[in-house]
C-alpha cells in the first residue's frame, strides 16, 4: 500500500511538473512573439509540438506565424517553403483536433497567402476552396467571432471586386463585438480579433 501511495505521489509530482512545463513553454513562446522575436517564438512552438504530441495549439501557432510572415514576400521559393511548412504543421494540428473551426479558418488564411502572391495562378482553385472552408467553419461554430469575422472579410473582398456593397457583411462584423467581449476561452486559445473587427467597422462607416 505504502509503495502504491509513493508511486502515485511520484506520478502526480511528475505530471504536475510536466504540465507546468508546457505552460511555461507556451508562455515563453508568447512573450517572444510579443517582443517581435517571431523566429524564436515559432521555433519554441515547434519544439513544444514535438515534445507534447497531444496539444493542437503549438503546431497551430507554428503554422499561424509562418502564414502571417509570408504575406508581402516577393520571392516565390521562400514563400512556398514557408507555406509548405505551415501546411505541414496545420495538418498536425488537425490530426490532433479534427473539425476545429480555428484550424479551418487558418487553412483559408494559408490559401489566401497563395492567392495574394499570384492570383492568376492560384486564384481560380483556391478561392473556391476558401468559400467552402468558411462555410464549413461557420457550420461548426456559428457563434465563433473569429469565424464570423474572417468569413465576413473574405466576402467583403469579393464583393468589392464585383463592385457590390459590403453593407451586409458589416452587420456580421458588428455582431462579433459582443461575442468577442463575452468570450471565455481556455488558456493559450486563439483570442485575437476584436481590434481587427473594430478596424473593419471603421471601413464600413466610411462607406
Amino acid at each position: 500500500m505504502k509503495k502504491n501511495i509513493t508511486f502515485f505521489t511520484l506520478l502526480v509530482v511528475l505530471t504536475i511538473s510536466a504540465q507546468s512545463k508546457y505552460e511555461t513553454g507556451m508562455q515563453k513562446a508568447f512573450d517572444l512573439w510579443k517582443n517581435n522575436k517571431t523566429t524564436e517564438a515559432s521555433q519554441l512552438f515547434e519544439r513544444i509540438t514535438n515534445a507534447k504530441k497531444t496539444e493542437w495549439l503549438p503546431p497551430y501557432y507554428v503554422a499561424t506565424i509562418e502564414i502571417i510572415t509570408s504575406f508581402g514576400l516577393k520571392d516565390g521559393a521562400i514563400l512556398d517553403n514557408k507555406l509548405k511548412k505551415a501546411q505541414q504543421f496545420l495538418d498536425k494540428a488537425s490530426t490532433i483536433s479534427p473539425n476545429n473551426p480555428e484550424i479551418t479558418i487558418t487553412q483559408a488564411l494559408l490559401n489566401t497567402a497563395y492567392i495574394a502572391f499570384d492570383g492568376q495562378k492560384y486564384g481560380m482553385t483556391l478561392s473556391v476552396k476558401n468559400n467552402s472552408l468558411y462555410q464549413e467553419a461557420l457550420k461548426m461554430a456559428p457563434n465563433n467571432p473569429r469565424v464570423i469575422l474572417s468569413k465576413a472579410e473574405w466576402d467583403m473582398g469579393s464583393a468589392q471586386f464585383f463592385g457590390q456593397s459590403i453593407e451586409p457583411y458589416c452587420k456580421d462584423v458588428q455582431k462579433t463585438i459582443p461575442l468577442f467581449e463575452k468570450e471565455k476561452l481556455p488558456q493559450f486559445y486563439p483570442s485575437n480579433g476584436i481590434n481587427r473587427a473594430k478596424e473593419v467597422l471603421k471601413k464600413c462607416k466610411k462607406q
Binding site: T6, T9, E40, Q43, I78, D118, Y122, M124, K129, Q135
Partner: protein, 719 residues
C-alpha cells in the same frame, strides 16, 4: 513515509536543477557559410536555441543519457543525431540543402506544365479558357506554345515536324485512343474532353519519361481533379449549343457530370460558309467522373465519356463538278479507371485501365465505309522514394487494339480490312539529385509488339544544371518507337515500327512572374512507312524504307509583371524538317510544317468593367505544295498565315458570365495549300483551287451561369 517522500522530492529536484549540460556548436551550409536562425533542439524536449548571425548556438538542458538532437532550417534537410547528451557539448553541424524546394533545379527539357503545383508555369489553368483563339479547347491553347505548328484546318497538335498522330494523350496516366472528335477534310477538330474536369497537365514536345511510349513526337498528360470543392450546377447557353453540368459530394465520394449538345445549324443559317451542308455539324457528348477516397487514403477515380457526331456535306472540289460529298456518323465510348495508394516505407502504387469503343459510318461520294475500333490499356506502376534525393519508379502496361473495317464501293465490290495491334511494355526510371543544382533522370523502356513482331529498347536520359539563382540548363536524350498508324496497318502486315531519337538542349530563366526559355532540338527519323500509288489503299505496296529529320530552335517569353493588369506571352519556333515517307518521290518538307511559327497572347483585366479582354495573334510562314505546272515535288510555298483573334469575358455578377469571341477578326484570307486539277486544260496548264478555311471569321457568344450554395463560384474556368 514522510522521509521517503522527501527523498523522492529531493531526487526529482536534483534531476531538474543540478545536472545541466550545455550544448554548444556552430551550424553552416555545405560550403561552410554560417546559417542564422536555425532551430537546434533535443527532440521531445523544450530545450533548444536559434543560431545567431555567425551560426553559433548554445543552450542548456537537464536531459540525460541518449538523446536525439535535431537541427532544422527552412529549405534545408533536417540534421538528426542520436547520442549521449554529454557528446553534444561541442557540435559542428553542416546542413544539406533540401532539393524539394521551388528554387531547386528542375528537369524540364522539352516539357511544359500547366497547373499550380509546378515550378515554372508556362500556361496557367485559366489560360486554357481565356486565350482568345482557343475557344476552351486544350489543344487550341497549347498551340500558343513553342514547338507546335498552327494548322488551323486540322485543330490537332503538330509537334516539331511530327504529324498529329505522333502525339499521344493520357488521362490520369491511361492512354486515350481517340482524343479528338472526328471531322472531315479541312474542318478543324476539338478535343473530346472538356477542360474543366482537369486540374493540371503536362505537355511534352520531346525527351519525355520512359513511362510513355508509342509517341514519336509529343505527349499530353492530363490529370482529373482529385476532389471537387463544392456542389454546384453549371448552365451554358451558347450560339452553337447548350451545356449542363452538375457536381455532387457525399462523404468521401463525389460525382461530376458534364454534358453538351452542339448544333451548328442556326449558326450556319446566320453565317453561311462555302460548304453545302446536307446535315449541319451536330455533336452530343457527356462526361462523368466518380471519385472515392478509401479509408486508408487511397484514391479511386472512374471517368467515362460518350460522344456522338453526325454531319453530311458537299465540299467544292476542282476535280468534281458537283462537289465532293463526305458524311460521317461516329459513336465513341471511353472509360478510364485509376487507383492510387500510398504504401509503407516510401512505396506507392498506382494503376488503371482504359477502354475505348469507336465506330464510324462514313460516306465518301457514293462509297460506304463502316469501321469499329476496340482498344484497351492496362497499366500498373510502383514508386519508391528512398530519400528526397533518390526516387525509383517502374511498371508494366499492355495495349490492345482491334480494328475492323468494311469498305463497300458503289460498283458493288467490298473489302474487309482488320488487324490486332497488341503491345506489352515495361519501364523503369530513376530520379536522382546530386545537389540542389544538378539532377538527373534516367530510364529505360522495353516494348514487345505482336503485329510487328519486334522487341524494342528505348533508353531515356535527362540532365539539369542550375547555373544561377534564376537560370538553368537542361539536356535530354531519348529513343522513341511507334507502330505504324491504323491507316497502314489495316492494309499491310509486313511493317515494323517507325523510330526517332530526340536530342534537346534547353536554357531557362525564371524570375518574378517572368519566364524566358529557349530550346534547340534535333530528331532523326528512321523506318518511316512508304507506299506507292496516289493514296494508301489495299493495292499499295508498303515498306519501312522512309526516313527524315527535324531540327529547330524555339523561344518562349512570358511576363506578368512589367505592365499592370496585363499578362502576355509570346512563342517563336523555327523548324527545319524534311521527310521521305508516304508516297513522296523524294525527301521534302511536309505540307503541315511551316518554317516559322509565332504566337502572341495578351490579356488585360479591365477593373472598372469587370471584364477580361484578350487578344491573340498567330503567324506561320508558308506551307509547301506541289505545283504540277513546274517540275518537282512540294516545290512551292503558300503565302504566310496570319490570324488575330479577340475575346472578352464580362462578369455580370459572381455567378453569371457573358463571353464573346471572334476568331480571325480581320478576316485575313488564309491559304493552306492548293488542289490541282488531275488533267491539264486546253492550254496545257493544270488549273488549281486554293484550300482555305470554311469561313474567314468565327463568332461565339455564350452565357454561363453557375448555381451553388455559396453563390460565389463561377465558370470563368470553363470559358
Amino acid at each position: 513515509m514522510k522521509q521517503l517522500f522527501s527523498l523522492f522530492t529531493f531526487l526529482l529536484m536534483s534531476i531538474y536543477s543540478f545536472s545541466q549540460v550545455t550544448i554548444k556548436g556552430k551550424i553552416t551550409d555545405a560550403k561552410g557559410n554560417p546559417i542564422e536562425g536555425a532551430n537546434i533542439y533535443l527532440d521531445g524536449t523544450y530545450d533548444g536555441a536559434s543560431s545567431n548571425a555567425d551560426g553559433n548556438f548554445s543552450f542548456s538542458t537537464s536531459e540525460k543519457g541518449a538523446q536525439t538532437l535535431i537541427a532544422s532550417f527552412i529549405s534545408f534537410e533536417n540534421f538528426v543525431k542520436t547520442d549521449n547528451v554529454e557528446n553534444f557539448k561541442t557540435l559542428v553541424i553542416k546542413l544539406r540543402e533540401d532539393v524539394n524546394t521551388l528554387d531547386a533545379v528542375v528537369i524540364n527539357a522539352g516539357s511544359f506544365d500547366a497547373g499550380e503545383k509546378s515550378r515554372a508555369v508556362a500556361l496557367k489553368p485559366l489560360d486554357i479558357v481565356t486565350t482568345a483563339n482557343a475557344l476552351g479547347d486544350v489543344a487550341g491553347a497549347l498551340q500558343t506554345l513553342p514547338g507546335t505548328s498552327a494548322n488551323e484546318e486540322d485543330g490537332r497538335l503538330f509537334v516539331r515536324g511530327g504529324d498529329a498522330e505522333e502525339t499521344q494523350v493520357f488521362i490520369d496516366g491511361i492512354r486515350v485512343f481517340s482524343p479528338f472528335l472526328p471531322t472531315g477534310n479541312n474542318l478543324p477538330t476539338r478535343g473530346r474532353f472538356s477542360p474543366f474536369l482537369f486540374k493540371g497537365m503536362t505537355f511534352s514536345t520531346g525527351g519525355y519519361s520512359a513511362e510513355y511510349g508509342q509517341a514519336l513526337s509529343g505527349i499530353l498528360a492530363l490529370n482529373t481533379i482529385n476532389e471537387p470543392d463544392q456542389e454546384k450546377t453549371d448552365l451554358q447557353f451558347m450560339t452553337v449549343g447548350l451545356g449542363v453540368g452538375n457536381t455532387q459530394i457525399w462523404g468521401k465520394n463525389s460525382f461530376s457530370i458534364n454534358t453538351s449538345y452542339i448544333n451548328l445549324a442556326p449558326y450556319q443559317w446566320a453565317f453561311p460558309d462555302k460548304n453545302n451542308w446536307l446535315k449541319p455539324y451536330e455533336t452530343g457528348s457527356g462526361e462523368m467522373v466518380f471519385r472515392h477516397r478509401t479509408k486508408n487514403d487511397g484514391l479511386l477515380k472512374l471517368y467515362g465519356a460518350y460522344s456522338y457526331t453526325n454531319f453530311d456535306l458537299i465540299q467544292e472540289d476542282i476535280n468534281f463538278d458537283n462537289g465532293f460529298r463526305f458524311a460521317l456518323k461516329n459513336n465513341n465510348i471511353y472509360f478510364n479507371g485509376s487507383y492510387k495508394q500510398r504504401l509503407n516505407n516510401g512505396w506507392s502504387i498506382s494503376g488503371g485501365l482504359g477502354y475505348t469503343h469507336d465506330n464510324s459510318k462514313i460516306n465518301i461520294q457514293e462509297d460506304r465505309i463502316t469501321n469499329a475500333e476496340n482498344s484497351a490499356h492496362f497499366k500498373v506502376k510502383l514508386k519508391k522514394r528512398f530519400s528526397s534525393r533518390l526516387k525509383l519508379s517502374f511498371g508494366s502496361e499492355y495495349f490492345i487494339t482491334n480494328f475492323n473495317e468494311d469498305f463497300h464501293q458503289i460498283s458493288g465490290n467490298s473489302f474487309n480490312n482488320k488487324f490486332d495491334n497488341n503491345i506489352f511494355a515495361s519501364f523503369a526510371e530513376t530520379d536522382f539529385f546530386f545537389s540542389k543544382k544538378l539532377a538527373a533522370k534516367a530510364g529505360i523502356r522495353l516494348e514487345n509488339s505482336e503485329i510487328t513482331n519486334e522487341f524494342t529498347i528505348s533508353p531515356r536520359l535527362s540532365l539539369a544544371y542550375k547555373s544561377g539563382k534564376n537560370s538553368q540548363f537542361s539536356f535530354a536524350y531519348g529513343r522513341f518507337y511507334q507502330n505504324p498508324k491504323n491507316d497502314y496497318l489495316k492494309f499491310a502486315d509486313n511493317l515494323t515500327s517507325e523510330n526517332t531519337s530526340h536530342y534537346i538542349l534547353n536554357y531557362q530563366y525564371v524570375k518574378d512572374k517572368q519566364i524566358f526559355r529557349t530550346e534547340a532540338f534535333y530528331k532523326p527519323y528512321n523506318n518511316l512507312v512508304k507506299y506507292d500509288g496516289a493514296f494508301a489503299s489495299p493495292l499499295s505496296n508498303y515498306n519501312n524504307s522512309g526516313s527524315g529529320f527535324a531540327k529547330g530552335l524555339e523561344v518562349f517569353w512570358r511576363d506578368g509583371k512589367n505592365i499592370k493588369n496585363i499578362e502576355y506571352w509570346t512563342s517563336y519556333s523555327y523548324l527545319d524538317t524534311e521527310r521521305d515517307y508516304k508516297n513522296y518521290p523524294t525527301s521534302a518538307r511536309p505540307n503541315f510544317a511551316s518554317k516559322h511559327n509565332l504566337s502572341v497572347v495578351g490579356k488585360y483585366w479591365l477593373e472598372s468593367w469587370k471584364t477580361q479582354l484578350g487578344i491573340s495573334y498567330s503567324f506561320a510562314s508558308g506551307r509547301t505544295y506541289t505545283n504540277p505546272n513546274i517540275g518537282g515535288f512540294l516545290n512551292q510555298e503558300t503565302k504566310n498565315y496570319n490570324s488575330v483573334s479577340i475575346n472578352a469575358a464580362y462578369l455580370i455578377s459572381q455567378q453569371k458570365i457573358l463571353y464573346f469571341s471572334v476568331n480571325n477578326v480581320l478576316g485575313t484570307q488564309n491559304v493552306f495549300g492548293y488542289n490541282y486539277k488531275n488533267q491539264p486544260n486546253t492550254n496545257g496548264v493544270f488549273d488549281r483551287q486554293a484550300i482555305t478555311p470554311n469561313a474567314n471569321r468565327f463568332f461565339f457568344i455564350g452565357f454561363f451561369w453557375t448555381i451553388s450554395d455559396n453563390k460565389k463560384d463561377n465558370q470563368l474556368n470553363n470559358l
